[in-house]
Symmetry: C2
């Protein structure tokens, strides 16, 4: 129940230690690894205390940066129905972790567990920021073109499944939230934002996209690039792609499918012939770019945007390295005050609608 810390205090991240396909094996190892680095982050490992402590005991770590918080009700399984599971087990790890953030014991929430449960626990415990009509889940994905100061080979897409459909005003909110996140994570002061549609013209697409286009064209806080088409997704023409959660879900899973197919083909080729192995070795530098595009899941997690606290959803398949990255990303978002950035971007919309 402590007060919100000043920004100079070290960031504290509540990690759902039970969530994800690999459970403690990935989460505890990720936190342990990070605790030994030059710029550690304080991690609260939330879950079954005896199990976490036992796992932690077998790993080298710096105990000054890790705290274990017991959650008595187990974990929401990856296939469980989120609402039913949370109601049945109020003291499950994701709920306890969210409560720690709500009560000021931690600054951000990270989970590799059930996506729906992470979203529900967040909306149960956190407030939406002023002007945010709907939270959105954003995902980084690999692109041919590079983005931001550091030349990141990733763009951001949202919503990718927090909800199904979106009104024009909600799409505008997604645009602002995505821009704020890209600004922080990619050191990209003016990220290019676009709506995903079936043509680049302002009048292309379903009604809600046409209307969102008109609103964004008049919003000074977003560097609006107009509409893009499916072609532009892998190219990476823009830094932030805005769409409904249904469309974003299909597109993101399709990118995942493409990467799996490419991996399959490469593996097949490698297994089959000595000459091919030699060929692959010779090509190794050229193939790095392709491999990077098939392995982007290691790069941080998907932020759940729109709440007054930072939430990062790591991929269910995250290994310890991916968990470590998700914690770092969460700490960076807290450090750079993501919530304030979003509120500032939405201010013209809030003022514009204050007469309503």
């Amino acid at each position: 129940m402590s007060a919100t810390p000043k920004r100079s205090d070290p960031v504290r991240v509540a990690l759902d230690a039970m969530g994800g396909d690999h459970g403690l094996e990935s989460t505890v190892a990720g936190a342990a690894r990070l605790s030994l680095e030059a710029s550690p982050v304080r991690v609260l490992l939330v879950g079954d205390e005896p199990a976490i402590t036992a796992t932690l005991g077998g790993l080298s770590h710096d105990p000054d940066w890790i705290q274990v918080v017991h959650a008595a009700d187990g974990v929401v399984g990856m296939a469980d129905h989120p609402r039913a599971a949370l109601d049945r087990a109020p003291e499950c790890s994701i709920n306890v972790a969210a409560r720690l953030v709500q009560e000021g014991e931690a600054d951000a929430l990270v989970s590799a567990g059930n996506t729906g449960a992470t979203i529900l626990a967040s909306s149960d415990h956190f407030q939406r920021l002023p002007g945010v009509r709907r939270a959105a889940l954003a995902a980084v994905y690999p692109t041919e073109q590079r983005h931001g100061e550091r030349g990141d080979p990733f763009a951001l897409m949202l919503d990718v499944g927090a909800t199904l459909d979106a009104t024009a005003e909600e799409l505008v909110g997604f645009a602002v939230m995505g821009a704020a996140y890209a600004r922080i994570i990619s050191d990209n002061e003016h990220p290019k934002v676009a709506l995903l549609s079936n043509g680049t013209e302002a009048n292309k697409g379903p009604r809600h996209i046409v209307d969102a286009h008109a609103l964004l064209a008049n919003l000074s806080t977003v560097n609006f690039h107009g509409n893009i088409e499916g072609l532009d997704i892998p190219r990476g023409t823009v830094d932030v792609v805005v769409c409904s959660g249904f469309l974003g879900n299909v597109v993101l899973k399709m990118l995942e499918g493409v990467s799996e197919v490419v991996s399959d083909i490469a593996r097949d080729a490698y297994a089959r012939k000595f000459l091919w192995k030699l060929g692959l070795t010779m090509l190794s530098q050229g193939l790095q770019q392709l491999r990077r595009m098939t392995d982007w899941k290691q790069y941080g997690g998907a932020p759940l945007l729109g709440f007054d606290h930072v939430v990062i959803k790591a991929h269910g398949r995250s290994n310890s390295g991916a968990i470590r990255n998700a914690i770092k990303v969460a700490a960076k978002a807290v450090d750079r005050d993501l919530a304030e950035q979003i509120a500032r971007g939405l201010a013209p919309m809030v003022q514009g609608s204050s007469a309503e």
Copy 2:
């Protein structure tokens, strides 16, 4: 104004000779090439007669299989607004070609020109089949898994942009039409059909998809596989993927974008280093599979389904080989009576709604 020919008569295809990025260069060459093959198709080349005749004069061909039909009003440009262009130039090549089919002078329409104009010319000249609420544009796309008797490495997706949204009943129509086309083109007697959604469960997705799922589960004429996710698109889990035109457009263009990015990477690697060239040569067999997936546009065209005549939209970038393939596909669809297959598949729906 001749009567519909008996099926034993040779199939006659009206080809918009002016349409497509390469115009006569591809269309006339495609028809000329086909006329010399063992199983030719009768082609009516529709467009500027002097220009067509001049182009044809420079190519070896069998004049018994080619007829030139003059269209006085030029061509609808690839970037023209379809409705405005057709109204301004009623005797343009796509309109004249559609009229030849309407009047029984030809059995099928093929065009590599403006997609919107091809769809509008078809709906202006043809009738929708009984039970079809909306026409749909279907596209073949490359998959990891193979399909049908011949093991085609392609699946079918529809709608990919004839319209934007679709009701549950319209999605059911798409499912039936896609199944009929897959049956004919891939020699696949019972093609697996699925709805594209954000989860495999019957209750996943927007309302119209949930409702379509319930209708398809009870439709005996379709081998319904349930819902698939984005992941299943490149895998090729099913033979026919059903979705709204907006979603299909984004997905299809994204696949195109992915293939372009893969080609770029391969070209870069090839250009850069002798060792890489050697590596690529050694890998050539392994890379064939990947190359096939980036070059699927050569394989026939996109059928516009739902009308009482066969319409094939070839890709704008089609070369003569792709045009030749589109003509062959159109002839095969006429030969196997695509319209009858669709009508038969929709019969339970028509009977079911006859009490309305």
